[in-house]
Symmetry: C2
Subunit: 218 residues, 2 copies
DNA sequence: CAGCCACTTGATTGATCGATCAAATATGGT
DNA sequence: ACCATATTTGATCGATCAATCAAGTGGCTG
């Protein structure tokens, strides 16, 4: 077998198992079996289980754009709709897994952040990486948004809504809480767009009208 | 020692350790040591570690109102401000623990929901219990909110914001993401209050004006 | 006082945990 | 071809895991 390919195979299997079962619940033996690797090989590339986790988190950092964000860019052109397309993509994942597993980064954040400082730093980096894409899309649509809006804060809020919604849907075993969270966020977003319309003298509804204001806007 | 007190002591210690370290990372031996109990006693009350977790979740279900919600009710009278007082109470907890540990229920939701069906059900019940309080406060303030607002959906959204914000703050080791999430939610909430003012013919700003609309409202 | 049952003691189980290491093999450079 | 280094093999380690159980203690009831 190719040498450099082994390391990548270990990372992919470990990433998947950490996602499926969590960090502590995943034994080294399981990783070895599913990756068809002996323990010596794994410990040749990674000095410990914690070091393996660090490798996985660096791997995730590299794969976010090609594996996740690229698909959104292909499918959706409008920067604002890209945000909701991304939220819908996570929804599809939840459908595929039957409301299980959730967000791999969110899971690790709550499981290991306190005890593994290096892992915590990289999880944070992954979140920053994620929200940077959102922030970029918000910047692209800056002229459609209120001038005083803190777009970075709003970008973080998108992640908050996504993670909070997924958590509730995993707990309930139902997509409704996730859908409801996105619906509330959509409503908030539409109110921002409407405000920007007023601000810049455009006719209200140039962008989109929040559901609670639709009567007044007519 | 009093007999029935042992069970409660085990539950309290287990709840604290699950919160501090997580479910899988907490060994039975640690629980026994910190609760000053022998293994036989623990297994007299709980048939397995999973059964102990179920006990902890039922215990949490009982303690939410007296330990968490009661303080909010005492401190704050206005139903809407109670929501933000609750969010501020979780903030205080994060300050106290230095952005560690987070929400005990949220942690368990992401760690065990997939593998322990009974635990998942009870975690869901805890979330339902939490949001029912919020829903109650929103209903109290129904006349200040838009008529078409789905108050249950909004109540779930409060939990979404809280959990998503805490996750990000644990990952970053900083309270800013949590504060930012609450700030964005406050802004959304204020826009709802303003909309209700318009809807019912009250002067705008009777309740509160969102930061992005303050210029227009004058 | 007798007897029952709830509760406690604490040593011990087999399984699994993460990790080690000497030996064998493969690879790449000269 | 040869050496040095990179990688793989797989048995094995002590520690820790959740869980068991026979023996004991203490309190309550009849």
């Amino acid at each position: 077998m190719a040498p450099a390919e082994t390391r990548r195979r270990i990372l992919e299997v470990a990433f998947r198992l950490f996602h499926e079962q969590g960090y502590h619940a995943t034994g080294i033996a399981t990783i070895l079996r599913e990756a068809n690797v002996n323990s010596g090989s794994l410990y040749h590339f990674f000095s410990s289980k914690e070091d393996l986790l660090v490798g996985v988190l660096e791997y995730a950092l590299e794969e976010l754009d090609p594996q996740v964000m690229a698909r959104v860019r292909e499918r959706t052109a409008d920067p604002i709709e890209r945000i909701f397309a991304l939220l819908d993509q996570y929804r599809s994942m939840m459908v595929f897994f039957g409301c299980r597993m959730g967000c791999p980064m969110g899971n690790l954040a709550l499981e290991v952040a306190d005890d593994l400082p290096e892992a915590r730093r990289l999880i944070h980096q992954n979140f920053v990486n994620w929200t940077r894409h959102i922030k970029g899309w918000l910047d692209e649509a800056a002229d459609r948004l209120p001038a005083r809006l803190d777009r970075e804060q709003l970008a973080n809020f998108v992640l908050t809504v996504m993670e909070g919604g997924i958590m509730q849907s995993r707990a309930s075993g139902d997509l409704a809480p996730y859908d409801d969270s996105v619906a509330q966020f959509r409503n908030y977003f539409d109110s921002l767009l409407t405000l920007a319309d007023i601000e810049s003298g455009r006719p209200i509804g140039t962008n989109r009208v929040p559901v609670f204001a639709s009567e007044d806007a007519k």
